[in-house]
């Protein structure tokens, strides 16, 4: 639980310039992760650094009403669950764990009218899971780190 700083310039720069552009850059790294360097892990770390920056300057109770820690724990479990389900579904079709070639993605290609191989689709699903998991766990790490030290000071 970090306190809120007093500087108006700091609040303006962080809220208007830094956090939106860091989140935008994280989304770019995430979406282009298949073709260029990047991917779920790096994008999750970048977006988590934006959220931690907001908590550090604006104060935890002002910056975290939409992503409080108790929701982020569910979100981290959800990210790991996406990864595990994407690995388990091929096992029901007779393939190995995380064998994306046998993922049933024909229905998605019919809906989107866009051909995408089952392997690329499986990698993308795993990237989504890794992104959500890394982002949530890094913000949870910051929250619990500051919470424990603040409680130790109050004693």
């Amino acid at each position: 639980m970090t306190d809120r700083h007093d500087s108006v310039i700091l609040h303006f720069v962080v809220r208007v310039f830094m956090v939106p552009f860091i989140v935008m850059f994280g989304a770019y790294v995430f979406i282009h992760g298949e073709l260029s360097p990047g991917g779920g892990f790096q994008a999750g770390a970048i977006v988590a650094s934006a959220f931690v920056l907001a908590r550090l300057t604006l104060g935890t109770e002002h910056a975290s009403p939409r992503f409080p820690t108790r929701y982020l724990i569910w979100l981290a479990s959800f990210g790991v669950g996406i990864y595990v389900i994407a690995g388990m579904v091929p096992m029901f079709y007779g393939a190995n764990y995380l064998d994306y070639n046998s993922l049933p993605t024909a229905w998605f290609n019919d809906i989107a009218e866009h051909h995408r191989t089952a392997r690329a689709m499986g990698i993308f699903i795993v990237e989504v899971g890794v992104f959500i998991g890394v982002f949530s766990v890094l913000v949870i790490m910051y929250d619990y780190l500051t919470l424990r030290f603040r409680e130790g000071e109050d004693d």
Binding site: V29, P37, G39, I46, L56, Y142, L145, F149, E153
Partner: protein
């Protein structure tokens, strides 16, 4: 690959690491540590390991610096050693 630039980056890497170990102000040490991570990321990008360089720049220079600033803001700023 330009070997003069690589040599300069390696020398800067060692100098910045020694600064991060020796300085008393913890925020200055953290800034030197972030610069160390960024120079290491530049060296990795010069070795055409761009994916590793992006990980080093986002984790070493990004989230580690922010987390350590959060840690420093909860304690005294100067080290006593």
């Amino acid at each position: 690959m330009i070997w003069q630039l690589e040599l300069a980056l390696f020398v800067m890497l060692i100098v910045v690491a020694i600064i991060a170990l020796e300085v008393d102000d913890l925020v200055a040490a953290l800034a030197a540590l972030t610069a160390y991570s960024f120079i290491a990321a530049a060296l990795l990008a010069m070795m055409s390991a761009v994916d590793v360089a992006l990980t080093e720049a986002s984790l070493g220079a990004g989230i580690t610096g922010v987390l350590l600033i959060g840690g420093i803001s909860l304690m005294r700023r100067r080290s006593v050693d």
